[in-house]
């Protein structure tokens, strides 16, 4: 199994979100988690990524715990695509996309070609690469987040509210883009979405119930 979650627990003062949560996912699957307002999906994704100190239990990606990853390990193994914001206002879109690679000295000679290929895959106008985050609309920001998450070729990619504000055609393009990406990369993807139709397209789907993940029934 690529992703193994054991006894995951996340509690904020006076608010228990997850307890004894277990999940196992093989590599190259797309797993959906049904999201609802204040349902805790964003916290779940951040917790699995090892970004919330209060999270306990065990989250292993290819045998490596996401809790306490070094900066370099984090940039190689886990990527998160945010629902809102998520880009650094001081940098343009291209700089935002390559930042994790540039910081960890992982820039290839063909980085520009890779960025352009991902832009094409997710129908992002390459002229936007020189724009700043404030020039983009919500959907474009989400797509740039997604491209930045995938450019590092992570083992685990966590995508928050993948489809928010997108029209159906765009959702289809983006979803096909993810499937295309997975053909050549061993990445396990977890997507939080509120759309039942989209959950039906995924390899497996779950919903949050009684602080755990239970199989989503269509």
């Amino acid at each position: 199994m690529a992703l193994i979650v054991n006894n995951f627990r996340l509690e904020f003062p006076g608010n228990l979100l997850f307890e004894d949560l277990c999940l196992e996912l093989p590599t190259q699957v797309i797993c959906g988690v049904e999201s609802c307002v204040l349902g805790g999906t964003t916290s779940l994704l951040k917790g699995l990524a090892g970004l919330i100190d209060q999270a306990t239990g065990e989250v292993l990606i290819n045998g490596i715990s996401t809790f306490g990853l070094s900066e370099r390990e984090r940039s190689q193994h886990v990527a998160i695509s945010y629902e809102a914001g998520g880009l650094i206002s001081l940098f343009n879109v291209y700089q935002n996309i390559i930042l994790p690679l540039e910081y960890h000295n992982r820039l290839d000679k063909d980085i520009s070609a890779r960025v352009h290929a991902l832009c094409e895959m997710f129908a992002l106008d390459t002229q936007l690469l020189l724009s700043f985050p404030y020039d983009l609309n919500d959907v474009q920001i989400r797509i740039v987040n997604l491209i930045r998450a995938l450019i590092v070729r992570p083992s685990l990619c966590l995508i928050d509210e993948f489809d928010g504000g997108m029209h159906e055609e765009m959702i289809e393009i983006a979803f096909l883009g993810l499937k295309e990406f997975q053909k050549t990369h061993a990445t396990t993807i977890i997507i939080a979405t509120s759309q039942d139709v989209l959950l039906g397209e995924m390899d497996c789907a779950y919903k949050i119930e009684a602080h755990k993940l239970v199989e989503f029934k269509f």
Binding site: R74, A79, I80, G85, L87, S89, L90, P100, Y103, N105
Partner: protein, 276 residues
């Protein structure tokens, strides 16, 4: 009876907690400030990595350009006005020839020792200290520092360290702009009243008066002043919360503290170095 005795026993506790609370309240900002400075200093170890150093160089150059180079125009304007004002006022007290003879020592005493560092620092606070507090506050408000951590990128290294190093360098550059512009405008004023005044002669008069101690003290004022302005700007930027007024509050408090500390630092260093 038992209740009243327990009340008596509890009395010292509020007193202790009040004193403890006051002590914590007094030292908390200082501890927070020290913590911020430590995190930034700690991130500087990443400069040993050549790839990260290249990225840092790019960000540092950008910061130095906005803080030091782009401050040229305002330094020129302020320096030119001060040169004109200084010479016109000095002419009221010293006859033309006496002023030319005393120009070197007066220029070092008034401009190089005091006005240069002071006015350049005030310009740095007004132009860049406020901008950095706003930028960091905005990033904090939008959770972008957390985003960087999620990307495995050290936010202190790429956003804060360039500021902390660029500010002292910028301040030193601004001292030089300021002194040169005040000298040129002073010379222009002297030349207007006495066209026989020689540029080379006045330049030499100033250069002969500059001693190593002036250069060292000015370098120290730039280093400590720039560091302090940068750190205070960042510290208050990082204290911004989700409240929409917190950025303006942070800028206001940050500028007040920067002004007070920078003026005190200048007075203290001048007093220690130049008083006999």
């Amino acid at each position: 009876m038992r209740e009243s005795s327990s009340k008596i026993q509890r009395r010292p506790i509020p007193l202790v907690s009040t004193i403890g609370g006051a002590v914590i309240q007094f030292f908390h900002p200082l501890l927070h400030f020290t913590g911020t400075a430590w995190v930034i200093v700690k991130s500087s170890r990443l400069l040993l990595n050549s790839a990260k150093r290249r990225l840092f160089q790019k960000l540092f150059n950008h910061q130095l350009y906005s803080t030091g180079v782009r401050a040229l125009y305002i330094n020129v304007v302020v320096g030119a006005l001060i040169g004109v004002l200084m010479i016109s006022r000095l002419y009221d007290y010293l006859p033309g020839e006496a002023l030319e003879n005393q120009f070197g020592s007066l220029f070092v005493l008034i401009v190089i020792r005091e006005l240069g560092p002071l006015i350049s620092g005030l310009i740095l606070i007004a132009r860049s200290g406020t901008a950095v507090t706003y930028e960091i506050g905005y990033l904090q408000l939008r959770g972008e520092l957390g985003v960087l951590r999620g990307l495995g990128v050290n936010p202190a290294f790429i956003l804060l360290l360039p500021v902390v190093i660029a500010f002292p360098v910028s301040l030193l550059i601004m001292f030089i702009y300021f002194d040169v512009v005040v000298f040129l405008s002073s010379y222009f004023m002297i030349w207007l009243s006495d066209p026989s005044a020689r540029f080379a002669g006045l330049s030499m008069a100033v250069l002969q008066q500059i001693q190593t101690s002036e250069l060292l003290i000015n370098a120290l004022k730039a280093l400590l002043g720039g560091l302090m302005i940068g750190l205070v700007s960042i510290h208050f930027g990082l204290k911004v919360s989700k409240d929409h007024l917190s950025i303006s509050n942070a800028i206001s408090t940050s500028v007040t503290i920067q002004l007070a500390v920078f003026l005190a630092l200048n007075v203290l260093l001048s007093y220690l170095a130049y008083s006999r």
